[in-house]
Amino acid sequence: MTTTMLAPTDLKGAHEALADTKGTVSIRGAGTAEGWAGAPLPTAAVLDTTRLTGVLTYNPSDMTVSVRAGTPLAELQRELAANGQRLAFDAARVARGATVGGLVATADSGPLALAYGSLRDLVIGATVVLADGTMARTGGHVIKNVAGYDLAKLLHGSYGGFALLAEIVLRLHPVPGASRTVALDCALDAAAERAATVLGSALEPVCLEWADGTLLIRLEGTSEGTEDRSRELAELVGGAVLGDDAGAAAWKRHAELVGRAAVRVGCRPSRLAGLLGRFGDTAVAGLGTGIGTTSLPLDEVGAVHDAVTTEGGMSVTRRRPPDGVRAWGRPPSAIRLLTAVKKELDPLGRLSPGRFESWFAELDDKEGTP
């Protein structure tokens, strides 16, 4: 079977790519999460979003921007930075060229999620294309808006299986005047204790992460205020205030560790250290968010799934496990509902089959004729 390549450059092209074709389609961005979650099944066509790029509207005074979904976030951030603004989002793979749409579709997030949430909290509107080519808009260009269902949320974490994100509207924040990181070398359980102290203080950290042996805490704000608070923070945890270069290097290492992870897990923050500690491998722990990653041999992933399930948390692989090992931990409780939504939006099961493994089993094999 030869695979058709579809590479739209705008919304109209994206509409045609789905409306004028039949058969299964994998949606693909920069490919930085290709190995995450369930393995994509072979499809009749691949819809590549990497030419679906560019800023559509940017009015800095409104602090919102709309972009085509294939725009690499790193590129967008450079453009925003020229106006003293940013998308307050820092998932590790942004540096590797991840697209805005791909980051939304994989529900990725980084250390800043402690203060700003994930993209679900920063996306204020979207235009999506359904499997039948229907173009639908949700949300808008204003930061406060409750008109209609928030369909952008539905696509957060949808792995290309529910619709194509074609255009995305984002809420922006000012680049803070200053940023300081306090670091402390310590074991995970000690880090968890320190984290609780920091969260109980009035210091308002924006990131609080343990990265394989080092607790990293970032503060942001005005230059004077941040200097004062970072000294106070260093004293409180017994750590050191890092200079700009050392701070940047520490966060770069953090991102690299996350990039090498085998599994992503999430649970109540206070339980994360205990959970990750059980596996003893290289780990990164968001001690305020409850989200962490660990790299362990892929055939041991099943044990992580089981442990996380016992804690009531979530887990999903970030590298492809060998046959017979599940990519997703337990499926969500609302699986029947999710299947109903999938059926309404993609009744033939055209889009990105495989990414959710057997969640939508009843839809599998419906399509397939190229």
């Binding site: 949430g117 173009m135 639908a136 808009r137 204003v142 308002e204 704000g221 206070s270 509902l337 939006l345």
Partner: protein, 483 residues
């Protein structure tokens, strides 16, 4: 109509003592805060636990009885208005705070807990629940979830959707599921995010886990007068441009100030054309320097009086004036309608000017008191029903909401679409947008029993229904066909 068998089934689902059927009692459920729309329900259920809610919904599903969930009934878009021949499921008796976890900073709540009671329960731990609708003393967290409610402090802290981690939801067929999880990241598509703000049309939320925040170290509040609404609007733009994210920026125009002063005497200047309330919060070292910047920006735009709250008492007084403004409008006008449109913040001055012109043209006064920081207007159209002004007021009110859409904004920032603005939805969304929303609704509620007729336009309300083709009853009966 409900036959005796269905009544019995519903009574046994929730317990006979938790059913209201007396016409006088039913009448108190006929509308929400939007009192112009009324419909007496056939029955009101007051279940005592999630299982009874699910059991009642299963009966409705089986017998195709429409049902409407109801919290405190403070909604302003007719969302909790009953539907004809349907029942109301009130969550008012489910009002327990099930858990406050100071370590992981979260609380687990039943849906009837009031917004303010969450913060009351969290306060002993130095924590609070951030979204703060002005109605927080009475409105319920279930209603807040349904409307994705906001409040003055949502500019910095976000709306209900940014603070709910997970929910136990009774789906429209009676299945009980969990949406969301222990962290912001969840498994697969974010159904929690779709449910929040769905205005009671996708199910009934019976248990909610929310994030709690640490009470900020310092709060600084100022009240500034300006020679014009435009000048005050420019201050808002400049604050944003300066990279300051205040906890709240609220604006009142002269009519709103007069009304509030008459009601509570909070010390606002009676003859100022406009006033801003600006509040900063956070670590003391951060607030101090930013507060200076705010004062400078106010001065640059011709601020005529700057009052800085010296203590918590003075701050509470400033907020009392702001929060009283809504209800206080009743003192300067026999009747009023509240609108809730949003515009991009850069268009605030423009939209206020146009609203003023539209008011003049309609011969009606419009008072403005609103969340300026996020461009969420609350124009209050003042009128006298006895003088036959209702229709004109409704027209003006609708035109204002639609003007917001025209300027790149939204029909509603926090009150929801409900019954009130459903017919304006086609102004904001195209046929395919609405049809897609309807497909999602069908996935949740195939039988269309859960708060039907709200949020999306319907033929009964607005004439032609946009969306996928639906056979006319006469077509189904084989009497007519469309070719």
């Amino acid at each position: 109509m409900l036959n005796a068998a269905v009544r019995d089934a519903l009574a046994s689902a929730v317990g006979p003592r938790n059913v209201l059927s007396d016409p006088v009692q039913l009448r108190s459920y006929e509308c929400d805060g939007l009192t112009g729309f009324r419909q007496v329900p056939s029955l009101v259920l007051l279940p005592l636990d999630t299982e009874s809610v699910a059991a009642a919904v299963r009966v409705c599903h089986e017998h195709e009885i429409p049902f409407v969930a109801r919290g405190a009934g403070t909604g302003l878009s007719g969302g909790a208005m009953p539907v004809a021949d349907g029942i109301v499921i009130s969550l008012q008796r489910l009002r327990q705070v099930l858990e406050v976890d100071p370590v992981d900073r979260r609380a687990v709540l039943q849906p009837g807990v009031t917004n303010l009671d969450i913060t009351r329960a969290a306060a002993p731990h130095g924590l609070y629940y951030a979204p703060d609708p002005s109605s927080q003393q009475v409105c319920t967290i279930g209603g807040n979830v349904a409307e994705n409610s906001g409040g003055a402090h949502c500019l910095k802290y976000g709306f209900t959707t940014n603070h709910v981690l997970s929910m136990r939801v009774v789906l429209p067929d009676g299945e009980v599921v969990t949406l969301g999880g222990d962290t912001g990241e969840q498994l697969g598509p974010d159904l929690r995010g779709v449910f929040i703000g769905s205005e009671g049309t996708l199910g009934i939320v019976c248990e909610i886990t929310v994030r709690l925040l640490r009470v900020p170290q310092t709060v600084r509040t100022l009240l500034a007068d300006f020679p014009s609404v435009r000048a005050a609007g420019e201050v808002v733009s400049d604050l944003v441009a300066a990279g300051i994210v205040p906890a709240a920026v609220e604006m009142m125009d002269n009519l709103a100030i007069q009304a509030a002063e008459k009601a509570v005497g909070a010390g606002y200047t009676l003859d100022t054309p406009a006033a801003l309330v600006v509040e900063l919060d956070g670590p003391a070292s951060e607030c101090g320097s930013q507060f200076e910047q705010v004062k400078q920006i106010c001065d640059r735009h011709g601020c005529t009086r700057l009052h800085i709250a010296g203590d918590t008492g003075e701050r509470a007084k400033i907020w009392m004036g702001r929060k009283a403004a809504f209800a206080a409008v009743g003192r300067i006008s026999p009747d009023y309608i509240v609108q809730d449109g949003v515009v991009p913040r850069t268009r605030l001055a423009e939209v206020l000017g146009r609203i003023e012109d539209m008011g003049t043209a309609a011969g009606l006064r419009v008072a403005n008191v609103f969340h300026a920081g996020d461009g969420n207007l609350h124009p209050l159209v003042l009128f006298d029903e006895d003088a036959g002004e209702l229709e004109r007021a409704e027209e003006l009110s609708k035109d204002i909401a639609e003007l917001c859409v025209e300027l790149g904004g939204s029909l509603s920032g926090e009150h929801g679409i409900g019954t009130d603005k459903a017919c304006s939805m086609p102004r904001m969304f195209g046929v395919d947008d609405l049809a897609t929303m309807d497909r999602v609704r069908s996935a949740f509620d195939a039988r269309k029993l859960c708060n039907p007729g709200k949020l999306l336009p319907t033929p009964r309300l607005c004439g032609e229904r946009p969306g996928r083709y639906r056979p006319h009853p006469l077509e189904e009966a084989g009497v007519i066909e469309r070719l």
